[in-house]
């Protein structure tokens, strides 16, 4: 179990403040936030690459705030993989064991075992520059995992991969975590990635934790407007438009809006754009002089630009936010 308590870390005008957060064992955590939200700083504090200005970092009851990275039981996979260019994949993976003075024969067995797990056995005698980005990344993960760290830290691990490979690797990461049963803390700015793999998402904004919870919690029960708009597609309109009496805002997801030609509609407007996405379309509808909303439409009904449509919204799914 890893705990951050009363953490403050400043860089010029930026300030990361974490009152308290606990990472339980064997869970996949994703730290999510826009750039500049402090998520990488949080990872670096956990890694020991930075020291907090205030507060403590406690791992399994031991205060490790001032322990340097090499005395913490962690593995890190960097965004650009950071493989040692002068060593083969095998030697790269063996480094943490060599440093721990593990006997040679055992090193061999362990490297091969982890390479098999990551499906890179045939790459072991290549140098980093001879491998593809995806293979380099697997070597980097193997190197981080081979010493069986208490916590594996992943810093934007998918951002250097192309779109197709990204989806493949993210499934692989989740599967891997279940097999090796270790805690993973994975930093990303990609909300789709977060929803797809996290057991728990920690959402950061402007150096503060805004919400912590399961992907469904975050998506369906966002605590504030930032969370609501940051994750997934969202519509935010003044409450009056839907007939509420207060002056706040209401939010709803595109998939909770239906095109309904019947009598019982909530809104109506004119179709402005249609984005065809294969399985469905996202349609922008102008419902007021300066308000548009996005709706998700299945392909059952033909819709054309300029058409007037009537819309019904799933009332149970509507989120109400105070005016702020």
């Amino acid at each position: 179990m890893l705990e951050l308590k009363g953490i403050v870390k400043r860089y010029g005008a930026f300030e990361l403040v974490i009152d308290s957060i606990v990472f339980e064992d064997n869970k996949y955590y994703i730290v999510l936030g826009p750039s500049g939200s402090g998520k990488t700083t949080m990872l670096r504090l956990i890694a020991g690459l930075e020291v907090p200005d205030m507060g403590d970092i406690i791992m399994d009851g031991k205060n490790i705030t001032f322990e340097p990275p090499w005395r913490r039981n962690i593995g890190i996979v960097f965004q650009n993989y950071a493989l040692y260019p002068h060593m083969t994949a095998f030697e790269n993976i063996a480094v943490p064991l060599r440093i721990k003075k593990v006997p040679g024969g055992l090193i061999r067995d362990k490297v091969i075992e982890i390479a098999r797990l990551l499906e890179i056995e045939d790459q072991l005698y290549k140098y980093p520059h001879q491998m593809s980005g995806g293979q380099q990344q697997r070597v980097a993960i193997a190197r981080a995992l081979v010493k069986e760290p208490r916590i594996l830290l992943l810093d934007e691990p998918l951002s250097n991969l192309d779109a197709r490979l990204r989806i493949e690797v993210r499934g692989f990461l989740k599967k891997l975590q279940r097999r090796i049963r270790t805690t993973i803390i994975h930093v990303t700015h990609d909300q789709e990635e977060a929803l797809a793999i996290a057991d728990e998402i920690i959402l950061l904004n402007k150096g503060r934790i805004v919400q912590k919870g399961s992907p469904e919690d975050i998506y369906r029960r966002p605590r504030d407007i930032f969370t609501f708009t940051f994750i997934g597609l969202s519509n935010l309109v003044p409450a009056e438009i839907l007939g509420y009496e207060d002056r706040g805002l209401v939010g709803f997801r595109p998939e909770d809006v239906y095109i309904d030609d019947g009598e019982n509609h909530d809104l109506e407007g004119i179709v402005e754009t249609i984005e065809y996405l294969g399985s469905h379309s996202i349609i922008t509808v102008r419902i007021h002089d300066n308000i548009t909303i996005k709706i998700r439409a299945d392909l059952g009904r033909r819709i054309s630009i300029g058409e007037r449509v009537k819309l019904r919204i799933d009332r149970d799914r509507i989120l109400r936010f105070g005016k702020d």
């Binding site: 690459l49 200005d53 040692y84 480094v95």
Partner: protein, 577 residues
């Protein structure tokens, strides 16, 4: 509030950034720092202290207060010395930079391949440079017979020419690399605005390289202020007190009479102040990029200059650079009789290798010392400076303060440490041994190589360093296992630099040694005069064996030229800053 502030300071660390529990970083940085402090700061302070004393012949110190400083106004030679110093420090650098600008501009037009032959002048030892010019300008025995017969030896302008010859390549390189770093889109914008040729050069290029021009000027000034080797050689031809600048005058006082040691220290204090001022300007220039505004010259033609003109400029520069070297080769092949024929023969009638035989047989112990000391010093220097450079670049060890100190040392010639160093070496009983040179040479080389390594490691990928830490290495091990094996490029450049400086050094061996290496008892390592001293001795009028001088000069150029060929592709990394 106070508690909170205090807490932050403790965690951030007062001097070295991170509050992590780690002592391994001191292992990296402290050897070099301990060395630099005890061999630079201590001598400066000790020297200032000595300037308040005078000495008896037996070596006892007597307190005289400011009387040494008062004597500065009475010293009969001081006017001449100050005049010469100004000429060497201001006039020579001005000419150097004025010559360097068109050469750099032409180089950019015709290609950088000519940089390599042009750089030779800066690679070969200053002593060798001086002897080749004096041989060439000899009014009866040198080329000067055919051009202009004049007693060059007793003119300070001979020294100025030699200094220009030696410092020109560095100035060209600094300005050339500045010109090359002008972004392509700025040039294209200039073309689009209708500016080409001279007009564009004056309106766009010159203002943009003004920081490099200033840097080249200040570097030449520093080298001019401490000009020593050509004056040492020239004085043996012209007689005492004719060519002296402050640096040489200091050395003469130091060398001739122990009673003058207090006064020597006083002169050194003056030089330390001057060089600190120059170093401060230099550090300013390195850290800021001010761009001078040059008024637009409307009469400058806006038309591309024919390439032929650029080739002519390069050709002239090459002739200026290579002519003395060619003459040195010619003289080295002449027989004793032919050497003394007037007019001198341009092509030797009966070329002979006798001069080389003579140099090999009499100069061997000097060669062994020079090669040995230069290699040992290069090894020590690379070790100390790559560790310190890594600690400074990767972990901000010492912060800006240490960086400025290192830069200061690179711009502070080592003459100013000479009096306390001599006392230190005598105390260690190491006068006239290899040890004297081994412990003092790194002062000349460690600062500049630390600066080179610092700049190299600044580009070292941070994430590789952090990955290594996460893999369980402390910062010392990160250096040994990861950074060191990956820094061949930077260390190559630093090693060449260090070897060249050590190979050509004249001042320290002159000051700390008095006999050649005793080859009959090699393990004593006693006797440590270097090859530069040998060359200088041959040049003295007592021997006046010009054939042997030339042969020795040629031999002294061999290692530098080999190194030049080795790093020809990295030239810009050395001086290009």
């Amino acid at each position: 509030m106070f508690k909170q502030r205090f807490f932050c300071i403790r965690r951030q660390g007062f001097f070295w950034g991170k509050g992590i529990r780690d002592r391994s970083i001191y292992l990296l940085a402290l050897p070099a720092i301990a060395y630099l402090v005890s061999f630079t700061i201590y001598p400066i302070l000790s020297n200032a202290f000595l300037s308040f004393f005078t000495y008896t012949l037996r070596g006892d110190a007597i307190w005289v207060g400011f009387r040494n400083y008062a004597y500065l106004t009475e010293d009969p030679f001081i006017d001449r010395v100050i005049f010469n110093t100004l000429i060497y420090t201001v006039v020579a650098p001005m000419i150097t930079v004025i010559l360097a600008i068109p050469i750099a501009a032409s180089l950019r037009r015709v290609g950088g391949v000519f940089l390599v032959p042009l750089s030779i002048a800066s690679f070969i030892p200053a002593t060798t440079a001086a002897i080749m010019w004096y041989l060439m300008l000899n009014p009866f025995l040198g080329i000067s017979y055919y051009i202009y017969q004049y007693n060059w030896a007793s003119s300070i302008y001979t020294v100025v020419i030699i200094e220009i010859w030696r410092s020109l390549p560095i100035a060209v390189l600094v300005i050339y690399s500045g010109l090359r770093s002008i972004p392509k889109h700025i040039e294209e914008a200039a073309y689009a605005d209708g500016m080409v040729g001279v007009r564009k050069f004056l309106a766009v290029d010159l203002p943009l390289v003004s920081p490099q021009i200033l840097t080249a000027f200040v570097l030449s000034m520093i080298s001019g202020l401490f000009l020593f080797d050509p004056i040492y050689i020239g004085t043996s031809q012209a007689g005492p007190r004719v060519l002296d600048n402050l640096a040489f005058y200091v050395f003469e006082n130091f060398y001739t009479d122990i009673r003058l040691r207090g006064y020597t220290a006083t002169l050194i204090v003056i030089m330390t102040i001057l060089s600190t001022a120059l170093a401060a300007i230099y550090i300013r220039l390195v850290s800021s990029k001010t761009i001078l505004r040059i008024p637009m010259v409307s009469f400058a033609p806006s038309r591309e200059m024919p390439k032929a003109i650029h080739y002519v400029v390069i050709l002239l520069a090459l002739v200026f650079t290579l002519l003395p070297i060619a003459w040195l080769l010619i003289v080295s092949l002449k027989s004793p009789k032919e050497l003394l024929t007037i007019p001198p023969t341009i092509i030797p009638n009966s070329p002979t290798l006798d001069n080389y035989h003579y140099v090999i047989s009499t100069g061997l112990p000097y060669l062994v010392t020079s090669l040995g000391i230069a290699s040992i010093n290069t090894f020590i220097t690379i070790l100390l400076s790559s560790m310190l450079g890594f600690a400074m670049a990767a972990y901000r060890f010492g912060g800006n303060r240490l960086l400025i100190y290192v830069l200061y040392l690179t711009a502070t010639p080592t003459l100013i440490y000479i009096v306390p160093l001599f006392a230190m070496i005598r105390f260690l009983n190491a006068i006239n041994t290899w040890w004297a040179l081994i412990i003092t040479y790194p002062i000349m080389t460690v600062p500049i190589t630390t600066w080179i390594m610092y700049n190299y490691y600044i580009k070292f990928p941070k994430s590789i360093d952090e990955a290594a830490q996460a893999d369980g290495m402390n910062r010392f091990r990160v250096f040994i296992k990861i950074a060191f094996p990956l820094s061949r490029g930077g260390m190559g450049v630093a090693a060449v630099y260090s070897f060249l400086i050590s190979w050509g050094a004249l001042l320290f061996p002159l000051a700390f040694t008095y006999s050649p290496y005793d080859l009959s008892n090699p393990l004593s390592f006693s006797g440590a005069q270097t090859f530069s001293v040998y060359v200088a001795n041959l040049m003295s009028p007592v021997t006046a064996n010009y054939g042997a001088v030339a042969a020795a000069g040629v031999i002294s150029m061999i290692p530098p030229i080999i190194l030049l060929i080795f790093i020809r592709r990295d030239l810009e990394k050395i001086w290009g800053r």
